[in-house]
């Protein structure tokens, strides 16, 4: 019995201490006033919509990425951080410079406002092709143009999710 008490005293609390940072968010949203988002990030989001408005031939299937990452309550910062990092992958694509510029503003601006304290080692983000493993087989069969189209559709959905999550954060701030 004495051994059992030691187990509970010296075993469980450290476990709690280890698990606590994982459960908590490591990012603090600084731009809750909405000024930076409204005057900088939203300008770029609108320009990205304007650039891509003619190309809306996207399927309604939601990629698996968003099934794993969503802007749930108390997880907004985490989602934005993940989404912002995902945006960086698109900078490597062969896209227009103006498009890249606005993607950079959205990505880095979001990360700047999140003010994440713990710099996670940026996990090697799976390439865009691996993001949707279920479609991996399909992409092999489709042409490169179709592949690019799918990536752009994913990008537009990602941007829309980011915009929605920011609006959720700011509206929640205004209510308080």
């Amino acid at each position: 019995m004495f051994h059992v008490s030691f187990r509970y005293i010296f075993g469980i609390p450290p476990l709690i201490l280890v698990l606590l940072p994982v459960a908590s968010s490591d990012c603090e949203i600084e731009g809750k006033s909405g000024e930076e988002y409204q005057h900088v990030i939203m300008v770029s989001l609108n320009d990205l919509d304007r650039i891509r408005e003619n190309d809306s031939n996207c399927l309604n299937n939601e990629p698996n990425f968003f099934k794993k990452h969503s802007c749930d309550d108390d997880k907004e910062a985490t989602f934005l951080k993940t989404a912002a990092r995902k945006l960086k992958q698109f900078l490597k694509m062969n896209i227009h410079e103006e498009f890249k510029l606005h993607l950079s503003i959205v990505s880095q601006g979001t990360l700047k406002l999140l003010n994440c304290t713990r710099k996670d080692k940026e996990k090697k983000q799976p390439s865009l092709g691996e993001v949707q493993p279920t479609k991996n087989l399909e992409e092999k069969k489709s042409s490169k143009g179709q592949k690019k189209q799918d990536e752009m559709c994913f990008l537009m959905i990602l941007l829309e999710k980011i915009k929605t999550c920011w609006n959720k954060i700011l509206s929640g701030t205004k209510e308080h």
Binding site: G31, E35, E36, H39, V40, I41, L101, I105, Q108, K112
Partner: protein, 474 residues
């Protein structure tokens, strides 16, 4: 001591490669001297060996060339030897690392679209690879807008005001869109008496009454960012000059309007005078015709004799008179016989007088007044006794005789005084001054003023009718 202590700690924690670094400068201060920090740490005697003043100031202009932004820095001290000095900016960029400025004479600038526009950036002065001084700034807080242009002033005569309009390139920009504009104007002869007006739109209205008439004015505009973007006033726009119109006199009117008003006044005056002159004779009878009043008309016809003649239709005036019913035909016969018997001598005398005098009643009508026999019928007839002439007045008619004739008694009309003597009037004596002839008296409209008619009782309606027809004939 407290300040020195803080600076000391700061100095010790300076990163490698930096002699000292600054904490974020206050937003309102444009010129933060990094070297002043060192000056505070040393006594005044050590200033001779102090580093030169590398304080600098910067401002940014966003979207000056499409999506390209401009950042411009310069040393505050113009005597600084900037031969080998350079500027760089780190942090707050879309790219990793730092960006170097381009030097143009004494000005350092960088034109790029790699500004994140979120968070602070660090701008450093470096000599080669050695950092001399740094300053933390936020690019969006040192924005200097572009100067407004195309200032115009339009005078609106109908509104008596001046509309000032101008243009700014920030209307088409995506970031710095909200600006506060300052309009400054003054009379050119008053060099330092400037008036300032702040507005957020690009249109301003100046009232004419607040400006001097017939004066030359100068006006210019500048802008400053507001809301999220902050910074400095832009340069002044090119001035615009305009002249205010001359003041109009208090009674000054256009010539055409003046002539029209004078003519209208005189027209109204003439109409008023004519209306006053012609009112009674011409206008009133048309506008308000008077209805004939038979009683008054008859009264007018029956002129009052000078002596004791009462003409009235008020029965109360004749209370003293005895009213007897008279048979018209019988009365006439009786009168004829009576007159023939009673006054033959008087008749001769009067005829002689009349013929001798040869006086005619001036107003005696040529025609004879006629009293129809009808007038002698009726239930009542008015008779007057001779003795009561004063009360009754001269009855009458058949006295178609003028007062002069009556009084004179000389020349009387040949009238038939169909009068009216009844049985009850034995005492009545008449003195017909004139000889009577059995003639029918005719009512002559021309002798309106001279005739006296006897209103015969029950024949009042007929007399009334006769009178009305008489009046109509008139």
């Amino acid at each position: 001591m407290h300040r020195m202590k803080n600076y000391t700690h700061f100095f010790m924690s300076a990163p490698k490669g930096c002699r000292f670094t600054h904490v974020t400068a206050p937003l309102k201060r444009e010129h933060v001297s990094a070297s002043l920090t060192a000056a505070r740490l040393f006594s005044p005697g050590d200033l001779e060996d102090a580093e030169p003043d590398y304080s600098f100031s910067c401002y940014s202009q966003l979207e000056v060339n499409g999506s390209q932004h401009l950042l411009r820095c310069a040393f505050d001290d113009p005597d600084v030897n900037s031969t080998h000095l350079g500027f760089e900016i780190c942090d707050g960029l879309l790219v990793a690392g730092c960006l170097n400025f381009i030097k143009l004479q004494e000005i350092y600038f960088i034109e790029t679209n790699k500004f994140l526009l979120i968070g602070d950036s660090k701008i450093c002065v470096k000599l080669g690879q050695r950092i001399l001084t740094c300053r933390k700034m936020n690019i969006v807080h040192i924005v200097k807008p572009e100067a407004p242009f195309d200032v115009r002033v339009i005078y609106r005569e109908e509104a008596n005001d001046f509309v000032v309009t101008f243009n700014t390139s920030h209307l088409q920009k995506k970031y710095v869109k909200n600006l506060i504009h300052e309009v400054a104007y003054h009379q050119e002869k008053n060099e330092h008496d400037w008036m300032h007006v702040n507005l957020s739109s690009t249109k301003l209205t100046l009232l004419q009454r607040k400006l001097q008439p017939d004066a030359m004015y100068e006006i210019k505009v500048r802008s400053i960012p507001t809301d999220y973007y902050k910074g400095f006033w832009s340069e002044w726009s090119p001035s615009f000059h305009f002249r205010t119109p001359e003041a109009k006199g208090p009674g000054k009117m256009e010539p055409v309007l003046l002539i029209i008003s004078i003519l209208s006044f005189f027209s109204v005056a003439v109409m008023v005078i004519l209306a006053g002159v012609l009112w009674k004779k011409r206008i009133k009878p048309i506008v308000w015709p008077s209805l004939p009043d038979h009683k008054k008309t008859l009264e007018q016809l029956c002129k009052k004799p000078k002596k004791n003649l009462t003409v009235s239709f008020n029965p109360e005036s004749f209370l003293d008179c005895q009213i007897h019913k008279v048979d018209g035909i019988q009365a006439r016969d009786e009168v004829e016989s009576f007159l023939q018997d009673t006054f033959p001598a008087q008749l001769e005398e009067s005829e002689k007088q009349r013929l001798g005098g040869g006086v005619q009643c001036p107003n005696w009508p040529s025609k004879h007044a006629v009293i129809t026999p009808k007038t002698f019928r009726g239930d009542a007839s008015l008779r007057c006794l001779a003795g009561n002439v004063s009360v009754c007045g001269t009855p009458v008619l058949p006295s178609s005789r003028s007062p002069e004739c009556r009084e004179g008694g000389k020349n009387g009309p040949h009238v038939y005084q169909g009068l009216l003597l009844g049985p009850g009037t034995t005492n009545a004596t008449l003195h017909p001054p004139f000889p009577f002839q059995s003639e029918i008296l005719t009512l002559n409209p021309a002798a309106q003023g001279q005739l006296l008619l006897t209103p015969l009782g029950s024949n009042q309606e007929e007399a009334y009718v006769t009178m009305s027809s008489f009046y109509q004939n008139q």
